[in-house]
């Protein structure tokens, strides 16, 4: 056996093809499947915990970031300039360059980036949470059916 392994070197695919093909015992199959399920269940539990933690944190900080964003946009006058687009369309179109620049200058870029990043984390967490929850429910129903 040792000779065979040495002869095939590190190429495991060749090694397995070279090994004698014997039927796998049923108890071993069940054990392997059981371990895979156990591992999947553990990973799902970890994902549920991490996703719920990240989701809760990002939602809480996201609300704060949203308040900061609105406050920054109000303080910089962004909403006031934006309102001109609706109240004084003609005059704004006449001096569209200054209007566009005033909007860009007042745009709270950092606050918007922070808010969008938190929103992305929240959406990602919810997605992971949903997937983990679906897996858990299918696994539970499968286990119940098997029982």
């Amino acid at each position: 056996m040792t000779e065979r392994i040495t002869s095939v070197g590190s190429d495991y695919e060749r090694l397995f093809s070279a090994l004698p093909k014997e039927p796998v015992p049923i108890y071993l199959c069940e054990q392997v499947v059981g371990r895979i399920r156990q591992e999947r269940s553990r990973v799902t539990r970890v994902r549920l915990v991490v996703a719920s933690l990240c989701g809760t944190l990002s939602a809480a900080v996201g609300v704060y970031a949203g308040i900061v964003l609105v406050s920054a946009a109000t303080s910089s006058g962004f909403f006031s300039y934006l309102a001109l687009a609706f109240s004084d369309q003609g005059a704004v179109l006449k001096d569209a360059g200054s209007f566009g620049l005033s909007l860009l200058e007042a745009f709270p870029a950092l606050e918007t980036i922070a808010f969008l990043a938190l929103l992305a984390i929240l959406i990602g967490s919810l997605r992971t949470f949903g997937q983990a929850l679906r897996f858990t429910s299918s696994y539970t129903s499968g286990a119940l059916a098997a029982a």
């Binding site: 303080s75 910089s76 005059a91 005033s102 007042a106």
Partner: protein, 154 residues
């Protein structure tokens, strides 16, 4: 990734699709960078002139001693409360409590509600939004002034 898949299907080459997406992405990044540089340059130029002319425009602190509050003032607009009116200029304290001098010309449109009004109708304490271009004196040459309605105290 989906975009690359679709593009590679259309172009018949995954490498070409990846390169195209990378070039477009770099173009967008360069555009945003250029825009930021452009806006930053205007803000910095205005801030410099605003600081140089602070004593002349607002009195108080000697040249070089004035600093803006928290953020560099926006050069193409002002929004806030009118604090003084001296024809043909008036001062606004607005974005981040920075004060700005607004110069009004005969071509400036001044609106209150749905009516056009004259410079004489600008009153201290009223709120206004101004759009214009910065001048060499650190002021804003207004093109549009919108006087906002004063809300009754709750």
């Amino acid at each position: 990734m989906i975009l690359i898949e679709k593009l590679s299907h259309a172009l018949g080459s995954r490498t070409l699709a990846g390169a195209l997406v990378a070039v477009i992405g770099l173009g967008v990044l360069a555009g945003v960078f250029e825009l930021g540089e452009f806006v930053g340059f205007h803000k910095a130029s205005f801030a410099s002139r605003w600081e140089e002319n602070y004593e002349h425009n607002f009195g108080g602190l000697p040249q070089g001693m004035a600093t803006f509050n928290r953020r560099i003032p926006n050069p193409h607009g002002a929004a806030g409360k009118i604090v003084s009116v001296t024809a043909p200029t008036f001062s606004i304290v607005g974005d981040f409590e920075n004060e700005k001098t607004i110069r009004v010309a005969s071509s400036t449109i001044i609106r209150k509600g749905d009516q056009e009004v004259t410079f004489k109708e600008l009153v201290v304490g009223e709120s206004a939004v101004v759009i214009g271009t910065p001048n060499e004196q650190g002021e804003i040459d207004a093109t549009l002034i919108r006087i906002l309605p004063t809300l009754p105290a709750p």
